[in-house]
C-alpha cells in the first residue's frame, strides 16, 4: 500500500504540474502586474522547481496537513465535508446495482433466450451506450422538472432521500454490467456437472439455484462490485455535477479547473485508498463464497 500511495501521489502531482500554470486562471483574464504575479507564485511555491514543490507537499502530507485551496481553506476540511456525501451516494448506487443487478441477472440466466432475457439484454445495452451525463439530464428533467417527484438537484444537506435519483443514475451503467455478468455466469453454471449431481441427489430446484448455482456464480460479480466501488467514487464527478451533489467529485472537478494541485492530489490519494481497501474487502469475501480459496 505504501508504494501504491507514493506512486499515485507523485504521478498525479506531476500530471497537475504538467498541465500548466494556474496563475492565468487566478487572474480571471484581467491584466496583472509582474510584481503581483511574482508574489502570487511565491505564495503557492509555484516559483520552486517540481521536486521542491512535491517535497514540500509530502512533508505536509506526513503531518496530515493536506495544504490549503486557493480560496484559503484547509483541504482537510474540504475532504472531511465532501467525503461522507460521496460515500453515501456511492454506497446507495452500489446497493442498488447489486440487488437489482443480481435479481434481474438470475432471472434472465435461468430463462436464457426467453422474453425477459431479451428485453433485459436490449435495455442494458441501451443504458451502457448512453453517456452518464445524458442519462442524468434526462432523469433530472423527467423526474425533477416534469413530474416533480423530487427536486432536480440535491440540496445542501444531501440526505439519503435526496440522493435516490443521483444514486440510480450513478448505478445504472454498472447495473447493466452486473446483469450481463450474473446472467452469463448463471447460465453457464446451470449446465455444470455439480448441478446435475445436485439435481440427481433429489434436491429441489430452488435449493439448487440459490445455494449451489448462485453462490458459485456470484464470484465474478463480487469482484466487479468491489472494483466498481472505486469507479463509482470517480464516476461520481459527472453525476455530482448534474445533480449538484456537494461531494468529492465536484470538489475534484473544481480543483482541476483551477489547477489547484494540493486539492487534486489529496482527493485522488483518498480515492486510491478507497480502491485499495475495497479490493482487500473483495479478497476477504472470496473466502466466504468459495471454500476452495483459502489464505495462508
Amino acid at each position: 500500500m505504501v508504494p501504491v500511495f507514493f506512486g499515485a501521489t507523485l504521478l498525479v502531482y506531476f500530471l497537475v504540474f504538467a498541465t500548466g500554470d494556474p496563475i492565468a486562471a487566478l487572474s480571471g483574464g484581467k491584466p496583472m502586474s509582474d510584481a503581483v504575479e511574482a508574489s502570487l507564485r511565491a505564495q503557492y511555491n509555484l516559483d520552486q522547481p517540481f521536486w521542491v514543490q512535491y517535497g514540500l507537499y509530502l512533508k505536509n502530507l506526513i503531518t496530515f496537513d493536506l495544504g490549503t485551496t486557493f480560496s484559503g481553506q484547509a483541504v482537510n476540511d474540504v475532504i472531511a465535508r465532501a467525503m461522507p456525501v460521496t460515500a453515501r451516494l456511492a454506497l446507495m448506487a452500489l446497493v442498488f446495482e447489486a440487488v437489482f443487478g443480481v435479481i434481474f441477472g438470475v432471472f434472465a440466466g435461468l430463462r436464457k433466450g426467453g422474453i425477459f432475457d431479451s428485453t433485459v439484454l436490449v435495455l442494458s445495452l441501451v443504458v451502457i451506450s448512453v453517456p452518464t451525463f445524458v442519462l442524468g439530464f434526462v432523469f433530472q428533467f423527467v423526474f425533477g422538472v416534469k413530474f416533480a417527484w423530487t427536486t432536480p438537484t440535491v440540496g445542501s444537506q444531501a440526505g439519503w432521500s435526496d440522493l435516490v435519483l443521483p444514486a440510480i443514475v450513478l448505478g445504472l451503467v454498472s447495473l447493466a454490467y452486473v446483469i450481463r455478468l450474473s446472467r452469463t455466469s448463471i447460465a453457464e453454471n446451470l449446465s455444470a456437472d455439480y448441478v446435475r449431481t445436485a439435481s440427481a441427489k433429489g434436491l429441489t430446484r430452488t435449493r439448487v439455484v440459490v445455494v449451489h448455482v448462485m453462490r458459485n456464480s456470484l464470484i465474478p460479480v463480487v469482484t466487479f462490485l468491489g472494483a466498481d466501488l472505486g469507479m463509482l467514487m470517480g464516476g461520481a464527478i459527472v453525476t455530482e455535477g448534474v445533480f449538484n451533489v456537494p461531494g468529492i467529485g465536484s470538489v475534484l472537478f473544481d480543483a482541476i479547473k483551477k489547477g489547484e494541485s494540493p486539492t487534486v492530489v489529496a482527493v485522488v490519494s483518498v480515492m486510491v485508498l478507497v480502491f485499495v481497501v475495497a479490493n482487500l474487502f473483495v479478497d476477504l469475501l472470496y473466502a466466504l463464497l468459495d471454500p476452495r480459496i483459502r489464505y495462508a
Binding site: 503581483v36 449538484n244 473544481d254
Partner: protein, 540 residues
C-alpha cells in the same frame, strides 16, 4: 454451517457500510428552518477569499458586492448612488478630498473611518499582497513604488482626520468618483490586517448583508443575512440571500424551472433559444457594460486616406447587425449605437454620425465603388477578419459578417482563424493584421472614459488599430479636466463624434445578460454589469 459463513459475510459487509457512512448521516443544522423570505440564488464558487481587492471574477464579485459598503454603489443604469460618501471633491481633478459619513460601523462594532479606506487601498495596491485588483490603484500617486521598491503605502493617500482623507492622482481624472463604486475600493476593518487569509473565510463587513456564522460552506452554499446596522440605498427587501454553488448551468436551470432556485443570473447556452418561453414573464435580457467591435487598423494601406474612409463607412453599412444578433445569438445582444454601452451615465444614442451604423447595402456598395474610383481595391485581395475561435460564437458570427460583406460589397472576405485568444493577441500586438480583426471591451466601472481612453487614445494599451488623432486626444483631456460628470460626459460624447468620422473601429453590438427567476420572487432587475440587484428582490 456453510450458510452461516455467508450470513457472517453479509453482516460484516453491512456493518462496514454503516461505519463508512455514519459520519455523514447527521448534519441538519442551518438551512432547514430558514425564514420564508430568504432568496436562493445561483452562484459559482468564489476563487479567492471574500476580500474586495482579491476578488475579480463573477462568483466572488456577487458576494463581495453585497458584503461591503464603500463610498458609492451603482444603480441599475450605472448611475452613482451615495453609500458612505459625504462628498468627493476636487479643485483640479488631481487631488481629491473624500469625506465620509460618520457613525457607520463594521459588524464587529468598530467604526468605519478614513483609515479603514486608506489601509484597505494600500493593502490592495501593494504587490507583496498579490491582490488581483491591484491595477485599480495604478493612477494613484506612489503605485509604482509600492510595486517595485516594497513600499507599503501609496504616497498619494493621506488621512486628514477620522472622516476625511485625500487622494492624489498622477493626472486629472474627472471620472474618479465613478470608479469608487467598484469593489476594489471598499474599506476593511482593523481585524482584517491581522490575518487576511482567515479574514477572507469569515469577513467582518459593513454592507447590506453580512456572512452568516459559518456561512460559507465551500462548493455548497454561501449564506448571507441582512445587516441590521446598514444605512444606505441598498437596504435589503428580503430576509437574506443564500447562494447555492453549482458546477453547471443546466442543472441550475432545471432547478429554476421547478422553483427549487429563485434567481439564475446567467443562462446556459443550450437554452438561449427557448428560455423566454419556459420562463414567461420571469426573465430579463438586458445590455450591460460591454460591447463587441470590428477593428480596422490604421496601418493597412487600403484603409488609409480618403478611399480608406469611404471603405470604413461602406463596411459598416454592409453589415446587418440585427440579423446576426437574431440568427447567431438568438436575440441576446443589442445593436450598438455608439462606442460605449447603454448602461453608462452620459450614454446618448443619437450622436452625430451614428447613422453610419445603420444597415444600408445600396449606399454601402455606392461608397465602396466611390473608393475604388479613387484608389482601386486590389483585384485578388481577400479581406481577412482575424479572430480567435476558442470563444463561444466568434467563428459563427464572423463567418456571417464576411458572408454579408461578400454579398453586399462584391469582394472576397473570409475569417482568419487563430486557435487561441493569446495567439490572436500576439498578431495584433506586433501590428501584424492584414485586414480587420475582432475586439471587445468590458468596462471595469461605468464611465464613458473607460470605453474611450484605454481603446482609442494615442498609444493606449488596448488601441489595437493604432488609431491616433490629436483632435480626439484633446477632447478626452478636456473631459478629464471637466468640473462635473455631466460636463465630462458631454466632452466624451464629442470625442465619440470624432470617432464616428474616423471609424477606427466599427461598433457591432452591446453584450447583454440573461437572467431568470422563480414564481416565488419579484422585483428582479439587472445592474449595469449584468448582475442581478439582489438586495431589492422580494419573496413571498
Amino acid at each position: 454451517m456453510r450458510m452461516n459463513r455467508v450470513l457472517k459475510g453479509v453482516a460484516v459487509t453491512s456493518a462496514l457500510a454503516l461505519a463508512l457512512t455514519a459520519c455523514g448521516g447527521s448534519g441538519n443544522g442551518g438551512g432547514g428552518t430558514a425564514a420564508d423570505a430568504v432568496v436562493t440564488a445561483h452562484n459559482t464558487e468564489p476563487q479567492n477569499g471574500l476580500i474586495p481587492t482579491s476578488t475579480n471574477e463573477v462568483g466572488g464579485g456577487r458576494v463581495v458586492d453585497l458584503l461591503y459598503q464603500g463610498l458609492y454603489s451603482y444603480d441599475a443604469n450605472g448611475g452613482l448612488q451615495e453609500e458612505l460618501a459625504e462628498s468627493v471633491e476636487s479643485e483640479d481633478n488631481v487631488t481629491w478630498t473624500v469625506k465620509i459619513k460618520p457613525g457607520a460601523t463594521f459588524s464587529d462594532g468598530t467604526p468605519v473611518t478614513a483609515k479603514s479606506f486608506v489601509d484597505a487601498w494600500n493593502y490592495g495596491a501593494d504587490s507583496d499582497n498579490a491582490q488581483n485588483s491591484s491595477y485599480f490603484f495604478e493612477t494613484i500617486k506612489g503605485y509604482a513604488e509600492s510595486n517595485d521598491d516594497g513600499a507599503d503605502e501609496l504616497s498619494g493617500l493621506t488621512v486628514v482626520d477620522e472622516t476625511t482623507f485625500t487622494v492624489e492622482l498622477m493626472g486629472p481624472e474627472s471620472d474618479f468618483p465613478q470608479r469608487l463604486g467598484y469593489s476594489a475600493y471598499m474599506p476593511l476593518p482593523e481585524v482584517a490586517f491581522e490575518d487576511m487569509q482567515a479574514f477572507g473565510q469569515a469577513p467582518v463587513t459593513n454592507g447590506p448583508y453580512i456572512l452568516a456564522e459559518d456561512g460559507w460552506k465551500h462548493e455548497v452554499e454561501i449564506v448571507l443575512v441582512p445587516n441590521e446596522d446598514y444605512e444606505g440605498p441598498r437596504k435589503p427587501a428580503n430576509d437574506g440571500i443564500t447562494f447555492t454553488i453549482y458546477d453547471n448551468f443546466d442543472s441550475a436551470y432545471n432547478d429554476l424551472l421547478s422553483d427549487n432556485l429563485d434567481v439564475l443570473g446567467e443562462m446556459p447556452p443550450s437554452v438561449l433559444g427557448n428560455y423566454e418561453d419556459d420562463l414567461e414573464g420571469r426573465n430579463a435580457n438586458k445590455a450591460y457594460a460591454g460591447n463587441a467591435t470590428l477593428v480596422i487598423p490604421n496601418y493597412v494601406e487600403e484603409f488609409q486616406g480618403e478611399a480608406g474612409q469611404l471603405r470604413r463607412q461602406a463596411i459598416s453599412m454592409a453589415i446587418d447587425r440585427q440579423q446576426i444578433i437574431d440568427q447567431i445569438f438568438m436575440g441576446t445582444k443589442e445593436v450598438a449605437k455608439e462606442f460605449t454601452a447603454p448602461v453608462i451615465d452620459g450614454y446618448s444614442e443619437d450622436l452625430e454620425g451614428s447613422e453610419v451604423l445603420e444597415f444600408n447595402p445600396e449606399k454601402a456598395k455606392e461608397l465602396w465603388d466611390e473608393a475604388d474610383a479613387i484608389s482601386p481595391w486590389p483585384e485578388d485581395k481577400v479581406l481577412t477578419y482575424t479572430s480567435n475561435t476558442d470563444g463561444a460564437g466568434n467563428k459563427e458570427y464572423i463567418e456571417a459578417i464576411t458572408n454579408q460583406l461578400r454579398t453586399n460589397l462584391g469582394i472576397k472576405a473570409e475569417l482568419d482563424a487563430k486557435a487561441t485568444f493569446k495567439e490572436m493577441r500576439n498578431v495584433v500586438g506586433e501590428d501584424g493584421l492584414k485586414g480587420v480583426s475582432r475586439a471587445g471591451w468590458q468596462a471595469d466601472y461605468p464611465s464613458l472614459y473607460n470605453f474611450l481612453g484605454p481603446l482609442y487614445g494615442t498609444g493606449a494599451g488596448s488601441n489595437d488599430g493604432r488609431y491616433s488623432s490629436e483632435e480626439f486626444d484633446a477632447k478626452l483631456k478636456e473631459g478629464l479636466e471637466a468640473k462635473s460628470i455631466e460636463d465630462a460626459s458631454a466632452k466624451f460624447n464629442e470625442a465619440q463624434e470624432i470617432l464616428f468620422q474616423d471609424l477606427p473601429v466599427l461598433p457591432l453590438w452591446y453584450q447583454a445578460a440573461q437572467a431568470g427567476w422563480s414564481n416565488n420572487v419579484d422585483n428582479v432587475e439587472l445592474g449595469w454589469d449584468g448582475k442581478p440587484l439582489y438586495h431589492q428582490i422580494t419573496k413571498g
